[in-house]
Amino acid sequence: MSVLKITNLTKKFGKFTALNRINFEMQKGEVYGFIGPNGAGKTTTIRVLLGILKATEGEASIFGMDAWRDAVEIHKRIAYVPGDVNLWGNLTGGEVIDLLVRLRGSNNKSRREQLIEKFDLDPSKKCRTYSKGNRQKVALISALASDADVYILDEPTSGLDPLMEKVFQECVFELKSRGKSILLSSHILSEVEKLCDKVSIIRQGKIIESGTLSELRHLTRTNVIVETKKPIEALDTVKGVHSLNRCNQGISMQVDTEELGNVIKYISEFDIVKLESFPLTLEELFIRHYK
């Protein structure tokens, strides 16, 4: 069942096209990664989904309701963490958490306390004294303490230290195990890799790649490291070989997945001593797409 769907969404600010006919769909219970560099349109997409920006063309819907028209009804069942958390300087963290939870209409005191402890936040301090990481914790705790069905998290860990990142990941797994759906925008790829079932990659307002992680890798390349007795001749002319590099262990390269068989066949003529292959990390995927 699809809980969140974007169809041919276009958003223009004056003459500037921020989003150009983007599409994606998130199923119930999925953790959906939304990745792209800064300024690609991640936050704009999320703001359209929240009904804060109005789509120029196309549709965005959550729970089958229109993101713009039925915003209030939708928001009773979603929780959101902005990428750049700005809080009210003269309210304490605890006050902001309560206010935001109440605005969503839910209230779960014990979970709130647990989360405050887990994230190690002092809720009695005024928000103006919080660092970026602490402001992010406030937004995260208020989102996670809410009883929502869909969680929209815009780069939620960009200010957290590695320890807190781990706490956050645990929380996401826990939400997932309870059947919640999560849209996670990020440019921290290891995080997306660890948490997400599906990924869409956005660049300059366009979705350039979408699918499960394995599907995406299938589309791309495999890392191969090879060591041979005889030097491999004219390897750079072989179809499907890229990024050739001589390294300590031998020769490393990226190979188009559909050409893998032919490449191995070619290499084997030079007496293979060692052959390693492993999938591209999302990091490498990313660099390839945004070069």
Binding site: R47, L50, G51, I52, L53, K54, A71, V72, E73, H75, K76, I78, Y80, P82, D84, N86, L87, W88, N90, L91, T92, G94, E95, V96, I97, D98, L99, L100, R102, L103, R104, G105, P123, S124, K125, K126, T129, A139
Partner: protein
Amino acid sequence: MIGQLNKNSKKLIRFILRRDRVRIPIWILAISLITIIIAPAFAEMFPTQQERMLMAQTMSNPAMIAMVGPGYGLDNYTVGAMMAHEMLLFTALAVAIMSIFLVVRHTRGDEERGRLELIRSLPVGRLSNLSATVTVSVVVNIILSLIIGFGLYALGIESMGLNGSLLYGAALGSVGILFTAVTAVFSQLSQSSRGAIGYSFAFLGICYLVRAVGDVGNEILSLISPLGLVLRSEVYVNNIWWPVFVVLGEAVAIILVAYYLNFKRDLQAGLIQPRPGRKDASPFLRSPFSLALRLMRSAIIAWSVGMLVLGMSYGSVLGDLEAFFESNELIKSMLPSSGQGFTLTEQFLTLLMSIISIFGTVPALQILLKLKGEEKRDRCEHLLAGAVSRTRLLAGFLVISIAVSIIMQFLTVLGLWAAGSIVMEQPISFSRMISAAFVYMPAMWTMIGLTVLLIGFYPKATGFVWLYLIFAFFVVYLGRALQLPEWTAELTPFGHIPQIPVDDMNFVTVSVLTVIAAVLSVFGFAGYNRRDIG
């Protein structure tokens, strides 16, 4: 040892002067210019002894004494006596504020931002920064004293001799130096610059209040407050110097305390721990309305007190107005022309009401525009991402804005009436004053409606309402004196309001304005529901 502790403070002094090379001259220039401009203005406005005596009479009631301090030489109210009576205290407040900001900025302010840590890692003494800051502030105050002292003398006004003028400057400077010392102590005590500024201002407020109570009833209390003490120098009347030296002596003692505290404590530590705030929100904080109220709480309280005091200060002069107006052509020309059959005081009241309503509009618009500020700082998305409609968000701010417009108008009238009925032989009734003031509500609401419209459609252009309000102030307040045509005032909603009690009530105009306000708001809501936020 002392040399070690203050090592390189001369370099730090130069550094402070470099950083504040614009700020300090602006403060000095602003305060001295205003002082030096006002003195000849007094001489021009009240050229004869008779006019000044009338003014003296107007000023010598308890409300005015509480506000500006006791008058000296009231039986021979020279321009100098007038200046010392009506300007010295307020200028002293400005000098104190200058010193507070200057000292906090370079002590706790730099410490809080971690800049002092950088300085302290260099071969610089532990007390150097405090020494440098205090030195700069003291020197700034001395320079200000001398400029004002010689400046006032240079005006060549008969009653303002060299001795008196220098004493006027010295009185101001001594207050500035005292607050340099006090702020230096609070900068040691508080852990944040906001805290240090807050405590210093609280101290300034207490000094002012103690003096106000003392001046009205108890001389000893006035001597305890440094603000009260410097007024006892009776500048331009008896020119008594010792209060200035007493205040300076107090300042030296307090500075030593600041040095001791700075010597004892760790960098970035404070002796007053910030109180931990609430861990939970109060049950009340659960909607855009309550959030707006919470965010604007201090501003609303401050404005309420301010408007009440404004009303009281206008009210306290109502008693002597008749005689005063009779002799002052300038003010007479500002009153409505259709005023036959009404006392001058009643005519003045109508002018007063229009000004009061324009002032009262300021906080009402501030509250609405807070919403725009929230949007600009990306905080609206927290609210709109909750189950909150845009209508509810805007309405929350609008309701408070309207309520504030009513409360401000009410409080000002209350102050006006309360003080007026003490000093007037035949007080104007409360209901009469209320109706004269509340008839302006539709004009205030039209300004509010216009602001809602701008927030809904052209959030970037909201600054326009301030220009419009300032324009309204000029054409309504000064229009008649400057003999501007009537239609200039009618370009603003305030110019259409019937001036009760001089004019008759005009229900049509008032209703039309109310409808306009409502229509503007409705359109504003429609726009707000349609546009992008952020």
